[in-house]
């Protein structure tokens, strides 16, 4: 290995060798980043390797902007699943399938305990008093009206911020509207505005 590095540095010069290592590192990291967004890894790797070609740094820079503002497959999958859940909840009540085995969730904190259970797949967290089925009231001025959407998909629970100023946080991390629905089944604490709600799985007896 030492011999290889020495040979490489002799061949390219120290500057050239460092550039090569930096390029490989950047390509590897770009691969991982685009994969996390749901795109094929080679797209990221290719974008970085383009700097080696005649197009220089302009095209990778354009690709960076495109990547930042395009719709990521990660979000598209989440939105499609949310739409499927929403479609199910919009079905006439007479056609609503009977509730399956207990699959409820419980959000407790800020003086309220909210139980998410029943045939509905979509629930709304709101600072206003609950008036319709599927509305969960968190009476606090920092909570929007409505504030966030909860989506039940099988044994999983999703959360989508609706863009209120108070903000929504999953275990301390900010959830933005453009993130779409996020899986919070494994989350511990959800914060809506200034109200912290502890998430737990509701038992059948509850």
């Amino acid at each position: 290995m030492g011999f290889d590095v020495a040979a490489l540095m002799g061949l390219l010069g120290i500057g050239g060798a460092f550039t090569l290592v930096a390029m490989i590192l950047a390509a590897w990291m770009a691969w991982r980043i685009v994969e996390k967004a749901g795109l094929p890894g080679w797209a990221g790797l290719g974008a970085v390797l383009l700097t080696l070609t005649g197009v220089g740094t302009v095209v990778p820079l354009i690709l960076l902007w495109v990547f930042a503002f395009m719709r990521w497959p990660r979000d598209a999958v989440a939105v499609a699943r949310a739409a499927a859940s929403g479609a199910a909840s919009a079905a006439p009540m007479a056609l609503t399938p009977p509730p399956a085995a207990p699959r409820g969730w419980r959000l407790a904190g800020g003086g309220v305990t909210l139980v998410i259970d029943g045939p509905l797949n979509t629930w709304l967290l709101t600072g206003a008093p609950a008036e319709k089925p599927g509305e969960l009231s968190v009476p606090d001025p920092s909570v929007g009206r409505p504030h966030a959407r909860l989506l039940v998909a099988g044994e999983r629970l999703g959360l989508e911020d609706l863009g209120t100023p108070g903000g929504t946080f999953i275990d301390g991390a900010r959830l933005l509207p453009e993130h779409g629905p996020r899986d919070i089944s494994a989350a511990g604490v959800i914060r809506v505005g200034t109200v912290e709600l502890t998430l737990s799985k509701a038992r059948a007896a509850e």
Binding site: A30, G38, L64, R74, D75, D171, L175, P181
Partner: protein, 91 residues
């Protein structure tokens, strides 16, 4: 003789002042170009960081010359995204 020495010193002084001024100008130009180029990277990276669930301010690492971009990329590449990743955490 004294006059010659004084003229030489004056000339030397003006050359030094001119070189210093030129150097400052070049440094300022480099700084402005660096800031402009960093801005071109900061804007999209800010959005990528926010969509990944990190603070957008992470993208300000681009202001650090040479290694700044690598720091941002490493954070995005090797940490778990709070807002979820394509698989298997996305809902």
């Amino acid at each position: 003789m004294w006059h010659l020495l004084r003229d030489w010193a004056l000339m030397n002084h003006s050359i030094m002042a001119w070189l210093l001024g030129l150097g400052s100008l070049v440094l300022l130009a480099i700084l402005i170009v660096h800031l402009l180029f960093a801005l071109l990277l900061i804007v999209p990276t800010w959005r990528i960081c926010a969509r990944a669930g990190f603070s957008g301010a992470l993208s300000l690492f681009h202001l650090v010359p040479v290694i700044g971009s690598f720091i941002v990329m490493a954070i995005l590449a090797f940490s778990t995204w709070p807002a979820g990743e394509a698989t298997p955490r996305g809902l």
